[in-house]
Structures are given as C-alpha cells and as structure tokens.
Amino acid sequence: MAILVDKESKVLVQGITGSAGKFHTKRMLEYGTQIVGGTSPGKGGQEIEGLPVFDTVDECIDNTEADTLVIFLPAPFVKEAAIEAIYAGIKFVVVIPEHIPIFDMMEIRQEAKKYGATVLGGNTAGIITPGEVNLGIMPDIAFSPGRVGTVSRSGSLTYYVADTLTRSEYGETTCVGLGGDPVLGSTFDEILMMFEKDKQTKAVVMVGEIGGVYEERATSVIKKMKTPVIV
C-alpha cells in the first residue's frame, strides 16, 4: 500500500519533448514507473524513449488509459496544462516547475476540487513510492520500501529524511513533496489524512518550513490522527 501513486499508476508526462522532460522520463522509467506516454502539442506522433507522444491529454488517455500526470513545462504554461488534464479526467497531477503565478495555482486548485483531483506543487520535487514509482525529479538512491510516510515542502529535505529512514532500516511507504511555491496544490493536512488511511504507514515524518500557514493548519489533523506524526 501507498498513497497517491503505486505500481498500477499509469503516468503521462506533459512536456515530454523538452530537455528536463526527456531526461527525467528516462530516469522515471528506469526506476520502474509505468509511464505510458507524453504530450507536446504539435508533436503528436513522435516517440520519446519508446513512448508515444500525443498532442492532447484526451488522446493520450484514449490510447493509454493514463490516470496520473507529471508536468515538465515552463511556469506560464502550467495552468492550461493542469486544467486540460483535470478536465480530461486525470486524478493526480504533479507540478514540477516553480514560479507558478498565484492566481493560476488557485484556479488549478479550484478545478481540481470540482473534479475530485489532487495536485502537488508547484515547485515540488515530486512523489516517490519506493520500489514502485518515482514521479518527478527525486534521486532514487535515498529511498527504500518500508513503513514510514514523509511529507515536506522541500525536495532536498525529503531526500535527507528518506536517506535517514533508509539507513535506519525503517524505509518509506510514500514520500510526498508539497512544493516550495507560496500557494500549493495540496496542503499538509490533506496529505496527512491520506497517510492516516493507509494501513502500511505506521508513522509519518512531516518537515515544516518557514513562511506560510500550511503547517499551522496541520495541527488540528495531527491531533485527530492515530498514526504518530513526527514534526
């Protein structure tokens, strides 16, 4: 068990033809992530890493049954891309780029809520369910399958915490990067509730950061949780 992503997740990469998209697609594939295709408007029909490239998310879903999406696009294009995916029925969207305009992220969040989708980021290193899926830009060496969930806003602190959990042989269920932008697609309290429902997760490490209100809002959820949370 894990939260948000596992080996069944069928992943679509938006911006697969860009240099970051290409590089990380290869890495994610090597990890065993089930990537089924990518999009790049105007470049439909091409292939990247042996994967089909489509013009639109709709086409990609029709052909591949993708249900999860990771975005490698410049910030000004993220709003359109994310909302396209949400309307097309994608239930989980990971926004890697940083500096997404605040209004854009608020709109993305609003549409996600309407359609029952979850968004991570912007400016997130991604999410990893060790041994199954690596979605985003996290290096895989720090992670190993295990019992502890992590949630943090910082990519580098996620690696550090996972590295410590791996070395001490607790291992991780899923490691979630919320992202470093001022307005985020998901918040600590929401991710903590997902961990609470996951039977395999025996404890959660949450790493807060200066600035913002999301840490404070997590406290009421932590009080209600049965799963211990280390903050």
């Binding site: 000004p76 997404i100 608020m106 969040r109 910082s154 990519g155």
Partner: protein
C-alpha cells in the same frame, strides 16, 4: 513586487478610482513649485516601498511654499525606515471628515480572495485588528468570481455609507477588486479612503504588491514605467551583487561559506554547521539545475568574501544533476581558482559520475584541486559538516 504610491495610483485611475491629482517632485525646489501650483498648501509624502510612512516621519503637512521647502530639504537629506528619499509626492490637502480602510488580499490557507473593509481607516490594518477587531469586515471570493454591484453595496453598507456616499463608494470597491484581479496582485489597499466635508470620497493613499511570477503577462506595467524591482531595504554589497545575479543570498556573521543546493537543504546545512560548533558566513539557494555560470557566481560570492575561511558544499542532485554540477565547479576552479579550502558532498542523480569527474580533474591538475575534498554518498552529511568546521578553525 511592491509599487510606489504614485505608481499604484496610476493603476487606480485606470479603474476609475478617484485619486487626488498629486505632483511628483525630485528636489526641494520641485516640491516648492508643486505646492505653489496646488495653491500654497499640500501634503508631502515620501515615495518609498514601505508602509507606515506617517509614523516614521515620511508624511508632512506644509502650510506654505516656504515651509514646504524647509520640510522637503529635511526629507530629501534623510532616510525614512532605512530608505533614501528620492521622490516626494505633493498632494492637495483634503478637508477630512472620516477615514476608511479598503483592501483586497489572498487568503492562502483557504484559497480565496478576500475583501477587507473597515470604517476605522488611517492606521494600518494590523493596528485596526488589534484595537477594534469588531470593525473589520471580510468578504471572500473564489478566484474566478467577479464582484457584482450588490456585493459592493453590501460592503459599502457595512462601512456605514448611505445615500449618495454609498453610491460613490460602490465603483471604488469594485474598482479596487478589479485592480487586484487585473494585475495579479498579492495586495491592493486604499488606506485611508477619505470622506471629505463636502461629501466626496478619495483614495488618499495606494498600496499595491504584484505577484512577481505573473509579471510576464503584464507588459503594460513596464509600459507605464513600472519596472521589476526588489523590495528589501538595506542590503550588503554582496547581497546586492547576488540580487543582480538572481541568487537568493544573505550574509551572516560566521566564517564558513555555504555552497548548498536548494533552500530547504541550505537551511539544514546551516543548522548542521552551528550544531558542530561552526558559524555560517551566509545563506544561499542555488535554485533548480544551476548553470555553470550560476555555480561560478555562487563561488565568487564566497571566494571574494574575506570572512570566509572554508567552504561547505552539499549537493543532492534532483533536477540538478551531479555531473552538471561537477562540470560547472571544475570549470570554475580551472578558470578562476579557489583561494579557500572546500569540502563538498554529492549525492542524488548521477552522483558517481560527479565524483569521478572530480577525481579525474584532481589527477590532471593536482595543484588546483589540492584543497578540494570531494565525497559521495558514503560520507554522511554530519561528517562533511564537522570537516568544514575543522577546516575553518585551521584557517583562522
């Protein structure tokens, strides 16, 4: 990005919010001439990127052109809240009956836009919240919502407006909301909104902060002369240099130069150094995937700082690959050299290749890399931190 009052007022005027027609002046002589033009009396307001100017002595009432000259001389000679005074807005004096507060901001926790209004304007909103929280009214909007006339009427009524005054408040309330939406603002504020004795409303001050990340879609701001800028007050020369180079950087008072990866890991690196008895000389954030040029600039900031005795490098390759990082650093060392010892750890994406590149370079140019210690994942970050503290102690 914060706007000056005179810039914010241009945006207000675009949305038909009544503003006083002030005159911008850059010298005591200009101020005096402006006061004459306004009929001999005026308010002089320093144009700085900070609120609370009144309390800090940045707003003065001039009863005559002569008095204005003396006041302006003092204002231009000094600083207000640490900012040098380069411009003064000379505004007509108003016959004030009452002052109100209007503001729009983002409620990040609830993902809403929130309109804030109070009949107790003239002091900042935190102050109103402290002394009379019952006099603050809030109305939340979804990001894609417009403000309708009836909603503006409701806000106006809460402020106590009736009759003609209520009618004239409505376009101001809608205008402020529209300014906020049109320019991707983080804050748009009229404080005070002044009701004059002749029954008119004026936006006497204007505060706007725009989302830097959305500037790309507002070329009209640059066309109006509103250029991208930084907001901080006093910065050290190095901080200014870093700012010009686009590197988030802060000087601290220690002797270990911090050459980290991202911000979170950077802060933790600083914590580690402190924990092992050292003192960081700075905080820095490389940003994602720094180019060789950027890495060079980061190292120059540290190398040219005489307080730095040793450099702590830690890279966890995420979007930034360790081989690119190694290539950038090696190129810098070959071209520029490093006058200080450095201990550096690389883990994450392609770290083995990064370490290999360094070892190869070390063989080729042993002198250049003599004081550079490179580690991979096998050395925990704690050891690197201890080593940096040792190196700094040895160098002192």
């Amino acid at each position: 990005m914060r706007l000056f009052e005179f810039e914010a007022k241009k945006l207000f005027a675009e949305k038909k919010i009544p503003i006083t027609e002030g005159i911008l002046a850059a010298s005591p002589e200009d101020v005096t001439a402006a006061v004459r033009e306004l009929g001999g009396t005026a308010v002089l307001k320093v144009q700085i990127l900070s609120g609370g100017r009144g309390k800090a002595g940045g707003i003065k009432k001039a009863e005559s052109p002569d008095e204005a000259f003396t006041l302006a001389e003092e204002l231009f000679a000094g600083t207000v809240k640490g900012y040098p005074v380069e411009r003064v807005l000379v505004d007509p004096l108003l016959d004030i009956k009452k002052e109100y507060y209007l503001g729009v901001t983002i409620d990040r926790a609830n993902y809403k836009l929130v309109f804030i209004a109070s009949p107790s304007g003239g002091v900042d909103i935190e102050e109103i919240a402290r002394i009379s929280p019952e006099k603050i009214f809030k109305e939340s909007f979804d990001i894609d919502e417009k403000i309708f006339g009836f909603q503006a009427y409701a806000i106006g009524k809460k402020l106590g407006f009736t009759g003609d005054l209520l009618k004239s408040a409505v376009p101001i309330i809608r205008g402020l909301y529209n300014v906020f939406k049109s320019y991707d603002c983080k804050l748009a504020e009229i404080n005070p909104l002044i009701e004059t004795t002749d029954g008119k409303l004026w936006a006497a001050d204007a505060r706007i902060s725009v989302d830097d990340d959305a500037l790309f879609r507002h070329p009209e701001l640059a066309e109006m002369g509103i250029e991208k800028r930084h907001e901080e007050g006093e910065m050290t020369e190095r901080e200014q240099q870093a700012r010009e180079w686009g590197i988030p950087y802060l000087d601290l008072d220690g002797n270990i130069g911090m050459f980290p990866g991202g911000a979170g890991f950077g802060i933790m690196g600083n914590d580690f150094i402190e924990y092992y008895g050292g003192k960081p000389a700075n905080f820095m954030d490389s940003g994602g995937g720094p180019s060789p040029e950027r890495l060079a600039k980061m190292l120059i900031l540290l190398d040219e700082n005489p307080d730095v005795k040793a450099i702590f490098g830690a890279r966890f390759g995420g979007i930034s690959r360790c081989d690119d990082f190694a290539k950038g650093v090696i190129q810098f060392l070959r071209e520029h050299g490093l006058s200080k010892p450095m201990v550096c750890r690389m883990t994450g994406n392609v770290w083995q290749e990064g370490v290999r590149l360094f070892e190869e370079a070390k063989k080729e140019d042993p002198e250049i890399f003599e004081k550079i210690e490179i580690h991979g994942i096998e050395t925990p970050i704690e050891e690197i931190s201890k080593r940096a503290v040792e190196l700094a102690k040895e160098a002192e």
